[in-house]
């Protein structure tokens, strides 16, 4: 086992930006010591009365996932905020999450699984909910009523243990939606409860919800 002091702390740095900006985010991250990133497409919601009326409130977003040692991710997030002006509304958000294990990264590896890290009281939580396709909207409505300030939807595919199917000659995996909501720790509790009651999530087959700590978050609407 490596000496714990040699082990770097790794973090997942996640940026949610407008469509087309993802490659730029990775570019900036590379300048700041992160070796690579993964881009997924998602949908975000815009806040505008007019757009809601016209039903055009959905915007294409890119979600960039990057893993790197803590100093690099911290610096990346700072630089991203400056360069892409996250302090302005609708310019994007960035946050970092602590990781307990990383393998396969060029920077080395870390394995904190066995040690309990004294995480300082984090200000934000990231709430992930995986639901059947089409239900994300209901979920977000409920979350917004409970104080959430926005959400990002990622299209996904997957099957629970009882859902596997074959139609014609094709193997089917049902379509899912992952909803990512960032919230202040104090607001997280009511939001989670609202989602649980609205979606009946404690019943099997209605989706899963998990919450992770967020170290830093930038660009959220206050």
């Amino acid at each position: 086992m490596t000496n714990p002091s040699d082990v770097q702390q790794f973090e997942l740095c996640c940026a949610i930006v407008n469509f087309g900006t993802g490659s730029k985010v990775i570019h900036i991250a590379k300048e700041n010591g992160i070796t690579g990133g993964t881009i997924l497409l998602g949908k975000g919601t815009a806040h505008s009365y007019l757009l809601k009326l016209l039903d055009l409130a959905e915007v294409r977003k890119e979600i960039v996932l990057m893993i790197g040692p803590k100093p690099a991710t911290e610096k990346t997030v700072q630089v991203l905020c400056q360069r892409l002006q996250f302090q302005k509304p609708n310019h994007g958000i960035a946050f970092t999450m602590p990781l307990s294990g990383v393998f396969g990264s060029r920077n080395g590896y870390c394995d904190n699984l066995s040690e309990s890290r004294g995480v300082q009281n984090t200000m934000y939580k990231a709430i992930f909910t995986v639901v059947d396709k089409g239900k994300a909207e209901i979920l977000i409505e409920a979350a917004n009523k409970a104080g959430a300030r926005g959400a990002t939807i990622i299209n996904a595919r997957g099957a629970g243990s009882h859902e596997y199917q074959k139609l014609f000659a094709m193997d089917i995996e049902p379509e899912k939606e992952i909803v990512l909501i960032l919230a202040e720790t104090s607001a997280a509790e009511p939001i989670v409860n609202a989602i649980r009651t609205e979606m009946n999530i404690d019943e099997p087959g209605n989706g899963i919800l998990f919450i992770t700590d967020v170290d830093q978050a930038h660009g959220l609407r206050r």
Partner: protein, 496 residues
């Protein structure tokens, strides 16, 4: 608000190039009359607004319906249901397509009524319906696209031996005409709806494309078979390329508006009815989703009416005039060169191009960039128009001199290109030949034919759309080969 501004900007970049080129031509070699120029500029404005609204409508109206339908058909897990639904969808969508009616009227005219307009519309629609169902079967039974397309095109060329060159042109034009601004987004979304259920990203990605290609080959087959059966292979009659006499600037817009509104409404009607029926039987959408799709259909309607009115009232006469004046200069190379440039920029403003590139980006998570696809598409269409102009100026060149080698090359290429790009390329053939090409480029070609001795406006006019539908197959497969060799480590298809 910035969603609206973004979309508006996107469309602006699409429409400005063609506007700019025409303005440059106006101040250099082709001085246009003032009322034509003003009408053109107003038309460009209508097109910009129309296209923006239309694209929103497709996003929240047409595409969701296609997706829902595709998913629902597959989930029934009944072969007969998928087959019948494919037939019904294919038939009613193409029967309502305005471009098909224009084409059918022309064919009825040149055959002196031997083939009636109604029979052409019905036969082509049956062809599309049958092949749409076949295309759906292909996706659900995991049959490779390139093999099916090879078989289809071999059959087409086998039958083509028995048809006259003129009818060959008509039949290939039919494939472009039936895949209009409304049909393409819907069929694309339908394919996505079925294939996105598939397990494993690669298969699901590849099968999102190719359905448009298969469906449009149905139109070719139908027309060829009909001309063989009815034994009418002579094209007679002639058409005058006309520029409307009126010098009114706004007049043509209001004159065209009601007829365009009628056409678009007719084209939208089957989709609306099918959606309402399916919604009450099976989708049972929540109220908000239902309202959103309905709003989407309204946007589609408004946007397409504005767009088509702008094109028909503002662009068509300018196209004819520019073609006529250029060809009258007696320098063939000018027509060919300007044809190439117009082809390059016109395709940017084609509505379905946006829908296709959007879907490509979504399906490949941005791996295949929109700009790359548009660049190659644009060069392809430029070549198509230039080659068509060459054909008009040199009477010895016949359409099949282009089509036969062109399709042979694209069929051979399919076996070396990553499957994803085969689908994209063959779909983009149908996408490129939309309303913008069918009016502006066609008018340009007809104007040129009018001025050139020995060129027949009608006969030479047929075949331009066929070319625009063919060259993208090669252009985008070249892009596919570049992707295959450039991506040293990649997500898609490198080791195939």
């Amino acid at each position: 608000m910035n969603v609206l501004i973004e979309k508006f900007k996107e469309v602006l970049y699409a429409v400005l190039p063609v506007t700019f080129i025409v303005l440059v031509l106006n101040f250099t070699i082709v001085p246009l009359e003032t009322h034509l120029l003003l009408r053109f500029l107003i038309g460009a404005l209508w097109i910009i607004f129309g296209l923006s609204i239309f694209l929103f409508g497709v996003d929240i109206g047409i595409s969701p319906i296609g997706n829902l339908m595709g998913g629902y058909l597959t989930k029934t897990n009944k072969v007969w249901f998928v087959g019948i639904a494919g037939l019904i969808l294919g038939f009613f969508i193409s029967v309502a397509e305005p471009d098909l009616h224009i084409l059918a009227a022309q064919v009825a005219f040149v055959t002196s009524g031997a083939i009636s307009k109604t029979s052409i519309v019905v036969v082509v629609s049956i062809g599309i319906a049958a092949l749409l169902a076949l295309g759906l079967f292909r996706i659900v039974y995991n049959k490779p696209l390139h093999k099916l397309l090879t078989v289809l095109y071999l059959v087409i060329f086998g039958l083509a031996l028995f048809t006259s060159p003129e009818f060959l042109a008509v039949s290939f034009d039919a494939s472009g005409a039936t895949t209009g601004a409304m049909t393409v987004p819907f069929i694309l979304a339908l394919a996505l709806g079925v294939s996105s259920l598939k397990k494993g990203g690669k298969a699901s990605e590849e099968d999102s494309f190719g359905l448009v290609a298969i469906a449009s080959s149905g139109a070719i087959l139908a027309v060829i078979i009909m001309s063989i059966i009815s034994k009418s292979d002579k094209i007679s009659g002639s058409l005058q390329a006309t520029v409307s006499e009126s010098t009114s600037i706004i007049g043509p817009f209001f004159y065209k508006l009601p007829s365009m509104a009628g056409e678009v409404f007719l084209a939208l009607l089957p989709l609306l009815v099918i959606f309402l029926v399916f919604n009450s039987v099976s989708f049972k959408l929540r109220h908000r989703q239902f309202v959103r799709i309905m709003k989407g259909l309204v946007y589609t309607f408004i946007g397409l009416v504005l767009f088509l009115t702008g094109v028909n009232a503002g662009f068509m006469d300018v196209g004819t005039t520019v073609g006529y004046i250029l060809a009258s200069t007696g320098q063939p190379w000018i027509v060919i060169l300007i044809g190439f440039i117009l082809g390059l920029v016109v395709i940017l403003a084609e509505p379905a191009v946006y829908v296709l590139t959007n879907q490509i980006e979504n399906v490949t998570s941005g791996y295949v960039k929109r700009t790359a696809v548009i660049l190659f598409l644009s060069i392809g269409v430029g070549m198509a128009v230039a080659l068509s102009m060459l054909r008009i100026t040199v009477p010895a060149i016949q359409l099949w001199h282009y089509l036969l080698p062109g399709y042979l090359i694209s069929i051979i290429m399919m076996y070396y290109v990553p499957p994803l790009f085969v689908g994209i390329a063959f779909d983009s053939g149908g996408v490129a030949s939309g309303p913008m090409t069918a009016t502006f480029v066609l008018a340009f070609a007809q104007g040129a034919a009018e001025a050139i001795e020995g060129a027949n406006v009608l006969v030479d006019g047929f075949g331009v759309i066929a070319m625009v539908a063919m060259t993208p197959l090669i252009a985008l497969q070249i892009l596919g080969i570049i992707f295959k060799y450039k991506s040293t480590k990649g997500g898609l298809e490198v080791n195939d």
